[in-house]
């Protein structure tokens, strides 16, 4: 079990990470910046899968809605970045609710399928209205978060730190306990007096909020919003692999997995096309032999 020592040590690790810009190259900082935003995607996903027990095959639906909302507002109306990011998060919740309220009524694998279809629809929608959305090429943004690597890194780190502490704290709270009970045995949770749908819906909204915020932040780091970086199925798959690789039901493991995946992908870039294959193979082997993920294996000695 994680004890109350966890919070101080987490803050310690974050502070150490904050010192990195004084020692490492801009290239590595850029990589970590991308890793941190992906980490928030993965942590949001783990809250829904690991705790509420719902598999969301389309995390990039929530990410994409947040990113494109922010991107369009900035591109066409030149809203300030903060307003765009907040609107992105809010829109992500709204779109998530429109999807989840009917989908959570379904039993079995159907919730997952609905989320998968949602991504495809969003992608098609963006391509279809290419005149407004920029289509497959994407949309340039007039504003960026910061120009130098160090500032971008610190913004991403701070964003991940705050998001991570909130999501992790939530998972350890009384609400997190109820959520786990709802995810693992909805009948029993109901019989204990918990409104399972309400709690799952809340988890979905929180997951949507952080996915949307992070998606919006990411595009202002990259200065462009495109289907390939925030909506494509492959983006969602990477988020899922990161969360499972790092350890489901741990939240923090998801962040670990995300940074690892981004880092590995970059390190193996010299292999060209083969790099994706190697990363996928590592993920596959880990999932098959250490299903608890990095952190799961570390904390629980979980074998199954």
């Amino acid at each position: 079990m994680l004890k109350s020592k966890t919070f101080p040590s987490l803050v310690g690790i974050l502070l150490l990470l904050a010192l990195l810009p004084f020692g490492v190259s801009g290239y590595i900082l850029g990589l970590l910046t991308l890793g941190y935003y992906t980490a928030v995607f993965a942590m949001s996903w783990d809250l829904l899968f690991g705790f509420a027990g719902e598999v969301n095959f389309g995390p990039s639906f929530l990410i994409g809605v947040g990113a494109y909302t922010a991107g369009l507002l900035n591109h066409y109306y030149t809203w300030p970045i903060w307003a765009c990011v907040i609107s992105g998060g809010a829109m992500s919740i709204i779109a998530g609710l429109l999807l989840a309220v009917p989908a959570l009524r379904l039993k079995g694998p159907y919730f997952g399928l609905v989320t998968l279809v949602a991504v495809l629809m969003l992608q098609n929608f963006i391509v279809l209205f290419a005149g407004i959305t920029g289509g497959e090429i994407g949309l340039d943004l007039p504003d960026v978060l910061a120009v130098d690597d160090g500032s971008n890194y610190w913004i991403a780190l701070a964003f991940m730190g705050v998001s991570g502490l909130i999501l992790f704290g939530l998972s350890r709270s009384a609400v997190g306990l109820i959520l786990q009970a709802s995810g693992q045995d909805a009948v029993q949770a109901g019989a204990l007096g918990f409104n399972v749908t309400k709690h799952k819906l809340a988890a979905f909204c929180i997951s949507a909020l952080f996915s949307g915020l992070s998606g919006a932040m990411l595009i202002f780091y990259e200065g462009t919003v495109s289907v390939g970086t925030v909506v494509d199925i492959a983006v969602g798959v990477q988020v899922i692999i990161a969360a499972v690789l790092g350890g489901r039901r741990t939240i923090l493991g998801a962040a670990l997995g995300a940074v690892f995946l981004i880092g590995m992908g970059e390190m193996l870039r010299p292999l060209g096309e083969a790099s994706t294959f190697v990363v996928s193979a590592i993920a596959l082997v880990t999932i098959m032999f250490v299903p608890g993920g990095f952190l799961g294996a570390l904390l629980h000695g979980e074998k199954r």
């Binding site: 306990l177 949770a189 019989a191 007096g193 399972v196």
Partner: protein, 486 residues
């Protein structure tokens, strides 16, 4: 005392099947009611309807005078109903104490931290159910009885007016049963209304103030344990009453042995499901294993078919089955018809049968199919229909027919009568009788419905809590083993 639980006219239909029909029961504060009925009689459904896990089609459920029928389960829980499920499914990463605390939390999205009194109250409950020495352990490290205690603790955490307990003593040892009885009796003393659901009178007689029996979804009788055991319908349901034994061909004196099971034991995690069981079946013999739900019949059959790991010796036609896979055993001639039927619902009756005869030469498969359609004429008229559209009885016949397509040397039938109406039972019974008289098939039948199990059997075993407690010819069953079966 006033009625804390009042159920009237309760009805539940699943598709065309009426699972519960016009059921009524009442429990006062400080009273324990035992609800009994054989497997498939609808008693679990009644419990789920009260808890709101299933919604009733008609009827009223009043908790302390307040109507709750149709509300969602969490709402009913808050009106004062707690349930102890038969299988405990605690959160495995949380300690025992945290699992109890969970049950004490308010259904709120905003309260991130448990209120101060929750911790203290959780300890109190743990002491009460004798879990205080293990509060900081993870559920996975606890013995079976402690997991049941945890389940009990969670159900009473909110101090419900009505406590529903499903099979309170399943899987417990005698001293544990005594301990649990005391705990449940203490609920009565505190003025709770308690509903115990079990299979037979024996299980709940000591603890219950009143017993109510139901069968096929309907109320049969209510009263003291003695009254209920004397009731004609109850006797007929459990013992087979006046239904006579079907004529059977003369059994050869000495049969050579086809199946031998010696000292077989099976554990599911910590619970022992089968304890040192030995049985033999002669070639051409029809052997019935009679036992209530949970006695271990399915486990025994699964151990024979190597579907669950077991210790002991199983030999078939002289060959030890140890180390063989379930597939090898099935191809070797032991074919099991599982309780759950396992038909291919989206395939037609004919396709299901063809699959069963898949390994036979075309000519032989054809002949066998003809023969089976004569044996079960109803299947002939349904040949093109999807298997899932058949009635329960027709599905059971199809399951047996499909198994027979595989030319079994030993046919294992696991609870073929589960959930079937009496009329269907008769048809099924006739088919089995024809089968016995026209072929030399060897059958091992597992049943809790004695009416169905006895007439066909050459020999009967009675299985109770994973052990054989009686073995003998069917005509001696009622006098020698009947009493312990009620």
């Amino acid at each position: 005392m006033k009625n804390l639980l009042e159920v009237t006219g309760l009805t539940k239909r699943f598709g065309g099947l009426v699972a519960v029909k016009d059921m009524h029961l009442t429990i006062q504060g400080g009273e324990i009611l035992g609800l009994i009925g054989p497997n498939g009689s609808g008693k679990s459904t009644v419990m789920k309807l009260i808890m709101g896990i299933e919604r009733p089609n008609a009827g009223s459920v009043k908790i302390d005078g307040e109507e709750v029928a149709g509300l969602a389960s969490h709402q009913i829980a808050r009106k004062g109903v707690g349930i102890v499920f038969q299988h405990s499914r605690p959160l495995h990463r949380q300690t025992v104490l945290e699992n109890i605390k969970l049950a004490l939390l308010p259904d709120s999205l905003l309260q991130l931290f448990a209120a101060a009194h929750v911790e203290e109250r959780a300890h109190e409950i743990a002491r009460r159910v004798h879990l205080d020495h293990v509060v900081n352990r993870l559920p996975g490290t606890l013995p079976f009885a402690d997991l049941r205690r945890l389940e009990l603790a969670r159900a009473i955490a909110r101090n419900p007016k009505v406590v529903l307990v499903d099979e309170p003593f399943a899987g417990l040892t005698a001293p544990e049963v005594a301990d649990f009885s005391n705990l449940i009796a203490s609920f009565r003393e505190e003025g709770h209304a308690v509903l115990l659901v079990d299979h037979n009178v024996k299980g709940v007689a000591n603890l219950s103030d009143r017993i109510l029996a139901m069968y096929l979804g309907e109320f049969i009788t209510e009263g003291s344990a003695e009254d209920v055991m004397r009731n004609e319908t109850v006797r007929r349901v459990y013992l087979g009453g006046a239904i006579g034994h079907a004529a059977r061909p003369e059994a050869p004196e000495m049969r050579d042995e086809l199946l031998r099971v010696e000292n077989v034991s099976v554990f599911y995690g910590k619970a022992q499901a089968l304890e040192d069981v030995s049985l033999h079946v002669g070639r051409g013999e029809f052997v019935s294993v009679v036992g209530l739900n949970g006695a271990g019949k399915t486990t025994l059959f699964n151990a024979i078919s190597s579907l669950v790991p077991s210790t002991g010796v199983v030999s078939f036609d002289g060959a030890d089955l140890d180390g063989k896979t379930a597939g090898q055993i099935a191809r070797g001639g032991i074919v099991q018809c599982p309780e759950s039927r396992e038909l291919f619902g989206e395939m037609s009756v004919r396709e299901n049968l063809d699959l069963g005869g898949h390994h036979l030469p075309t000519e032989e498969a054809h002949q066998r199919l003809e023969w089976l359609l004569d044996l079960f004429p109803i299947l002939k008229t349904r040949a093109g229909q999807d298997a899932r559209t058949l009635s329960g009885g027709e599905q059971q016949m199809l399951t047996i027919a499909r198994a027979l397509m595989m030319k079994p040397r030993l046919l294992i039938l696991d609870e073929p009568t589960l959930g079937l109406a009496p009329v269907i039972l008769e048809q099924l019974s006739k088919a089995l009788e024809t089968l016995r008289q026209t072929t030399d098939i060897t059958v091992l039948l597992g049943e809790q419905n004695v009416t169905f199990a006895l007439p066909h059997a050459d020999r009967v075993y009675v299985l109770e809590h994973g052990r054989f407690v009686w073995e003998g010819p069917p005509d001696r069953f009622a006098t020698e083993a009947g009493a312990q079966f009620l």
